[in-house]
């Protein structure tokens, strides 16, 4: 990887991670106040679905010749930094550990299912 691509990944990941932090805080405060299942990690679910859609779109656009530096910043950097596997896994285990197995299962099914559909929709949109 070139030095410039490396720098763009770092910058994009920083922007994406900060956006994840801000989005999660914003969503979770509102979710906790209004939902009967306030422990459900709705913020991270929303983030992972949105990020999967955008990365699907970028992956489709890449086959139309989107440049490697653009991909380094937006795909690897921003989408990679915005979405997260570790927080999702931690939240799932935490919710299950609090005795709510149904909520943990719902988090697995919803994040995988909606994420797959969102990525496919993004890919499809780019290939239209």
């Amino acid at each position: 990887m070139s030095g410039l691509a490396w720098l763009l990944v770092c910058l994009g990941a920083g922007v994406g991670s900060a956006a994840r932090f801000a989005t999660d805080q914003w969503v979770q405060v509102r979710w906790n106040r209004r939902s009967a299942v306030g422990r459900f990690p709705a913020g991270i679910l929303l983030i992972n679905v949105i990020g999967s859609f955008v990365l699907g779109f970028l992956a489709g656009a890449a086959s139309h010749g989107l440049g490697p530096l653009v991909l380094a910043f937006f795909a690897t950097g921003i989408c990679g930094g915005f979405t997260t596997f570790s927080t999702w896994a931690y939240d799932t285990v935490r919710v299950a550990g609090e005795g709510d197995r149904a909520l943990a299962l719902a988090n697995v099914a919803l994040t995988v299912g909606a994420g797959m559909l969102a990525a496919a929709a993004g890919l499809g949109l780019a290939l239209v």
Partner: protein, 93 residues
């Protein structure tokens, strides 16, 4: 392709050992683990396997990543608890 699945699963296994560390919160979890692991690449990779008519690999990729990722959190949290004593109730990353 099988190699990339294994690398993905192994990387997630290694990284996910950290979420048990409640004391490092924002830097170690939101920043490092959140930035290091990804969901979007996982989803697009699985979709591309389906598009390449390798639904079997896609299902294996999804199942392995999910199961190993969740197991890694349990292992990581357990290891931290063993070393540092149990986490306070409600301790989050």
């Amino acid at each position: 392709m099988v190699g990339s699945l294994l690398i993905g699963a192994l990387l997630e296994l290694v990284v996910l050992r950290r979420p048990g560390q409640a004391r490092w919160r924002a830097l170690a979890t939101t920043g490092f683990c959140g930035g290091f692991t990804t969901w979007s690449t996982f989803m697009v990779g699985a979709d591309e396997l389906i598009a390449a008519h390798r639904t079997d690999l896609a299902i294996g990729y999804l199942a392995l990543s999910v199961v190993m990722g969740l197991a890694a959190v349990v292992v990581g949290a357990g290891a931290t608890a063993r070393i540092m004593g149990p986490l306070a109730p409600g301790g989050e990353p």
